[in-house]
Amino acid sequence: MNELAPISREQRVENLKGLGCSRKRVEDVRFTQGRGNYVDDLKLPGMLYGDFVRSPYAHARVKSVDKSAALAVPGVVAVLTAEDLAPLNLHWMPTLAGDKQMVLADGKVLFQGQEVAFVVANDRYVAADAAELVVIDYEELPVVVDPFKALEPGAPVLREDLDGQTTGAHGDRRHHNHIFLWEAGDKAATDEVISSAEVVAEEMVYYHRTHPCPLETCGCVASMDAVNGKLTVHGTFQAPHVVRTVASLLSGIEEHKIRVVSPDIGGGFGNKVGVYPGYVCAIVASIVTGKPVKWIEDRMENLTATAFARDYWMKGRIAATKDGRITALSCHVTADHGAFDACADPTKFPAGFFSIMTGSYDIPVAHVGVDGVYTNKAPGGVAYRCSFRVTEAAYFIERMIEVLAIELGMDAAELRRINFIRKEQFPYQSALGWEYDSGDYHTAWDKALTAIDYQGLRREQADRVEAFRRGETRKLLGIGLTHFTEIVGAGPVKNCDILGMGMFDSCEIRIHPTGSAVARLGTISQGQGHATTFAQILASEIGLPADSITVEEGDTDTAPYGLGTYGSRSTPVAGAATAMAGRKIRAKAQMIAAYLLEVHDGDLEWDVDRFVVKGAPERFKTMKDIAYASYNQAIPGVEPGLEAVSYYDPPNMTYPFGAYICVMEVDVDTGVCDVRQFYALDDCGTRINPMVIEGQVHGGLTEALAIAMGQEIAYDEIGNVKTATLMDFFLPTAWETPHYTTDFTETPSPHHPIGAKGVGESPNVGGVPAFSNAVHDAFRAFGLRQSHMPHDHWRVWKIAHDLGLHG
């Protein structure tokens, strides 16, 4: 065989499709042809279907359940109630937040849509028919949907099961509807600075209740194999390994006898982190019937019963000098957790990472207190495209900055600039205890302001205000500024765990003899493109082309244990594990190469895809050569094969940041807000795949647009969910969604093996304040300080009306 002409180093780098390359996604070949494999696509022989009977009331006693008519329907196999689950001790289950939650209503219901009975039938239509025939006698009880009223002395007792318990999972409970008070920072010092400050701005900032609403709802197929005693559960799980552990603890089935599989997932955004009654009921039903049982939520169930997000009432005070130096920040949050505290946060953080609320600013002293409260609303409190309440924190500080700018009569961009943490202050210790890893906020900010011609926009805005006052236009111009700092990549095992499981993550790599590989991770993609991007990290580490590396996730029988994908943790944690496992492969490969080239290990250096003898570039062994040798040569002192595993415990969180600017036209008479321009600069450290990053930013901004401009889970005063279908729950279409301009700076994380920080959530975290600030800014000249989201047409019209702009 003829020797091929040697290819250039640049060509070898390009062939790898490694870090920094906009590699096309390997997932798309299947997805574009309709060959995805989502949980509802799974059909097992003899499979049964489960459907819930749900409470129409937000608070009621369940006096009786009559299932006889339902059981009489041909094809119905079982109807489960709390009474049936009680002997197994599965009528309640623990939540991620240290509380417990009813699986099926045990004596009372606490929110509309709560699961009361589970009907199992041989067909989904039959199950739905029979669910209608379950007769439940309710006695209505007084409903509390307002967290402030819930804490009044005479408020109805919601959680009778906690009666008399003055201590919860996170300390003292001072009222029967109180869950916890969580605090961080120095209260006395903060109060002292504020009380003597030159300027203080005070405001209530509400981040309303909303929902992640992935296009695929939650569901599972549970299958108990009575012959070998193994339970297999396919489902929409963002954390399959944790689900296996929880399933084992709850059921008593040993963990090796449980296989949890997350197939393709149709979007997660935090909705698919928690464990829901549907999963438990499907598993029990499969054990009881000996057949596979499928449970798939419909959209109304999804919006009413699983996993709301936000619902934080944030009362803030920010102090500054007259020239705009921020001296202190204080916040008290009334957090509406719904009927059960089922927030998905690391165990020791009942308010998540809300204490990142000092944001991008060098604030010497701060304090936060969060009161968790029970109400007659659905449980959840998940991190909707968010790293555990970071979205709330970023919205809070970015609103408070705007309010302070009004108080000071200052330009909000300048106020931010003079208070930014400076580049040389990193690693920066925040007043609330975080160590920000790296950042260069001034550079990002200046780049953003220049890119949109900030001064020009302010002039145009001032002209517009004058024209409006002269009656020449009915549209105002809003300039929405945001500089956000995220905290992602949970997290260090010393302080981050979920149900006791440390929040490390993992990667296991097996190199095949002919130089291709499989890598398995403890995470699970829900659209982020892990199969594409993790192969890129590995390609750069081990010198095999990304196209020759298969990435697998989500099957607990094959993948190493990991805590899953949420909170932008996959790249910071599993991405680090991938790089570290790759380095172990390379270390062994170096020994093999040294043997093959008959040199000392130290005489070799790594060059893209090969080990080269130093000073003799013609003498080398490629990773492909080495892989083959590892399987067919007896090398003294080296085991055959080429495999590695890494369990990575991150030393710190990562702190991505960004500068977003939204330019908005606001119609005073209709309340319609049109985004004229949106500029998003993200710094997520080292960029793995710019195409995927840009896609994440577009998507996250659109979710932010929805949240800021119309999306909410709204309740009436008796606890009816008013936004339970996509008719009422706002998801923007292509028509309403603006065009986005993306940009970047690149400040690597100093502690991450490849310097990457994660990006998935940044656009949601930074996007919501950018849109909201634009609405507020449009009315600043007319005296608006604060108005609650979502800024739908009616609410914006109302702002204009209340400001007297309708004449």
Binding site: F31, T32, G34, L215, E216, T725, W735, Y740
Partner: protein, 163 residues
């Protein structure tokens, strides 16, 4: 409930089956014909994940009774392009990163497939309006729009070359 005798042609293949009058077309397609490309996202015809092509029109098969499709010619994502011979839209969605989780994609491409027959040379605004019946939670649409415009250009070039 007595069943109805239905005949449908799906992706060029003739099918006969018995279905209850209330049975939804999406369930027949997914569960009886085992074509799981079209998905169920809302069951209220808002999201478009279940979009199929029926007698030359885009329909949301979660709100069409199978009985209404009796005698119809239906095309699902599985009938648009084939492995090794993808439709320009399928190529363009990949090329321009027009998908992430992939759940809306079959409906999105199926709708675009019809849309580009309705309007072979659309403007960006026309694409945005023409695709407004299909929701995507991941992409923010920008790359979907880009992919459809690119596929339209590609298809027009091929057509012109053939003429």
């Amino acid at each position: 409930m007595s069943k109805m005798h239905l005949k449908l042609t799906v992706n060029g293949e003739a099918h006969e089956l018995l279905a209850e009058p209330r049975e939804l077309l999406i369930h027949v397609i997914r569960e009886r014909l085992n074509l799981t490309g079209p998905h169920i996202g809302c069951e209220t015809s808002h999201c478009g994940a279940c979009t199929v092509d029926m007698n030359g029109r885009s329909v949301k098969s979660c709100t069409v009774f199978a009985a209404q499709a009796n005698g119809a010619e239906i095309t699902t994502i599985e009938g648009i392009g084939a492995p090794g011979a993808l439709h320009p839209l399928q190529e363009a969605f990949r090329e321009h990163h027009g998908l992430q989780c992939g759940f809306c994609t079959p409906g999105m491409i199926t709708r675009a497939y019809r849309f580009l027959q309705e309007n072979p040379s659309p403007s960006e605004a026309e694409v945005r309006m023409g695709m407004a019946g299909n929701l995507c939670r991941c992409t923010g649409y920008q790359n979907i729009v880009k992919a459809i415009l690119s596929a339209a250009a590609e298809m027009n070039t091929v057509k012109e070359a053939a003429e």
